[in-house]
Symmetry: C2
Subunit: 332 residues, 2 copies
Amino acid sequence: MAALAGVSPGAVSKVFNGTGRISEATAERIRDAARKLSWRPNAAAIALRTARAQAIGLVLSSDSKVPGVGAGNMDFISGIESVLSPREYGLLLNVFISGQHDEHHFYRTLAERQRMDGIILTNSMVGDTRPELMTQLGLPAVLVGTPWKPGAIEYVDADPPGAGIAETVDHLVELGHERIAYVSGPKDFVLPVQRREAFVQRLAEHGRQPHAVVSVEYSPARAAEETTALLAAPVRPTAILYGTDTMAIAGMRTLQAAGLRVPDDISVVGFEGLTLGEWIDPPLTTVQRFAFQRGRAAAAKVLTLLGETVEEPVPLERPALVVRGSTGPAPR
Amino acid sequence: MAALAGVSPGAVSKVFNGTGRISEATAERIRDAARKLSWRPNAAAIALRTARAQAIGLVLSSDSKVPGVGAGNMDFISGIESVLSPREYGLLLNVFISGQHDEHHFYRTLAERQRMDGIILTNSMVGDTRPELMTQLGLPAVLVGTPWKPGAIEYVDADPPGAGIAETVDHLVELGHERIAYVSGPKDFVLPVQRREAFVQRLAEHGRQPHAVVSVEYSPARAAEETTALLAAPVRPTAILYGTDTMAIAGMRTLQAAGLRVPDDISVVGFEGLTLGEWIDPPLTTVQRFAFQRGRAAAAKVLTLLGETVEEPVPLERPALVVRGSTGPAPR
DNA sequence: TTGTATGCGTTATCAG
DNA sequence: CTGATAACGCATACAA
């Protein structure tokens, strides 16, 4: 570019980075030439010279049994992009397939390639070794969720321990429910573990005990199975919380197939706030999360770690109980 | 690295690229050193030198009204990654927000930054100008879907014009349905337009006419509205096809709320094959698509365009009708 | 077979 | 204030 514009490459750099001193005359001349040639600074050259890739990585986890990654992730990604793209940062997506990839090797490769300046990690796990790994690799990282071990990694806590659970329990207790069960997500993830604990604790504060608590993988089929098991027991629950909306919907279907009416015979609560929840019968009472905001917050945090100045202190809305039709007074 | 290993930089390059001739002895020595230093070729330097970013871009569209991008995209992304990542290609995600971004400027910037060697475009549109734009920008592109104008762009046709529609119509006709309505997706997208046409045509082949055909945006709320309108008419349909599963579920809920039984009074068919469809009441009859495969095929095609040799000719499974509980014999 | 030099498009440093 | 110049880490053509 420089040559074509008849100026020195250094001058061009100064103009496009606002650095150094340059006369307005030549600056304008350079901008003109750039426009005419529709020239843009070459990303690779910048990356090489500054040792900054101008991109951040995102690792989404997936199970080898289920190649797809959770649907809620799309809003999350949009949120990330909404703060990255205005700053000309790229988003590098990586799908980690547990069982197929070796975690250590996977992240090490990511770091050594130096294609990303920072990384966003999801799915905080019990006994997670990634925080230490990332510091060891020297790759600025932000975990989305509550870290298993505090202090080991920067994080964005969109779901403060047990968020929404207390409200849910209160809501059900108020409705007179005595036997509340919880079909939770897998216990190797931090989020469901915390929600379980918060569930038990809040119930205790009401002087009660959970009717039952089980942990299963995030799967509608498994949720349905556990629901059936719950119904087979001599004493049935009057309300069931589920780890996700999808599980709740599958559970609700199972209940209805067994001849129970929701919410007259039994109440159901989900977790996520899928739009679809409004369109099933009855509409699903759930804890609404805010994936887009979560993404924004995570991206803002990474950029901050990189020394980028992110003015707006992206607010994180706390997950909130949305009461719809699947919860009602306890039977009898 | 070269210096540290006590060899020439050229030698290192040869070893890691399999190019040029080098003795196995020194090659091994270099590999050893690399392992010890846990050294990897620097992506930026390679990109600069070879003028190849070793990354491909993906543009997901989103509406400014709805920041999120469709949920089905996650499997699609996993599919792309599954062919990109083994070849050390990165996936650069970009969210295009219609109404907020200027299309021309958006893609031009993407191309000029040279961060991606090729690009995957989604949401084929009626009157799409992107094919011409991409050739003009010189950025190898693959469109996922049927192009509006043939020949202007490479594409991967996961949904050959009207796929699944004929089977659906046949299925309903066999069940004795005379009045079939179609609540289709927006008419600025190629896919819904083609499905509409296929619908009308197949019906014609059976010597029939559609009961009604409407195009609305992809939204459960709009689907519900149109369903209500359909019910308000003097003559009601006995079956309704919807543009997506989500729309179908919302529509079904509307029908049930109006006192109609599905499928006894009216049949419902969706499009996509969401797992959740199995867990509603009644389970949704739908046209199953294969997002993961679609992603794989798209990625393979882009790489081929770049001169990369992709051995496996990623197969594309044709969308197929999955009959579940929401369709049944026509009433009376 | 191996080592060396040059350049990719920037940024940063320095002399003009 | 401006223009030349040396890296950044690699690939490649060429010399040894």
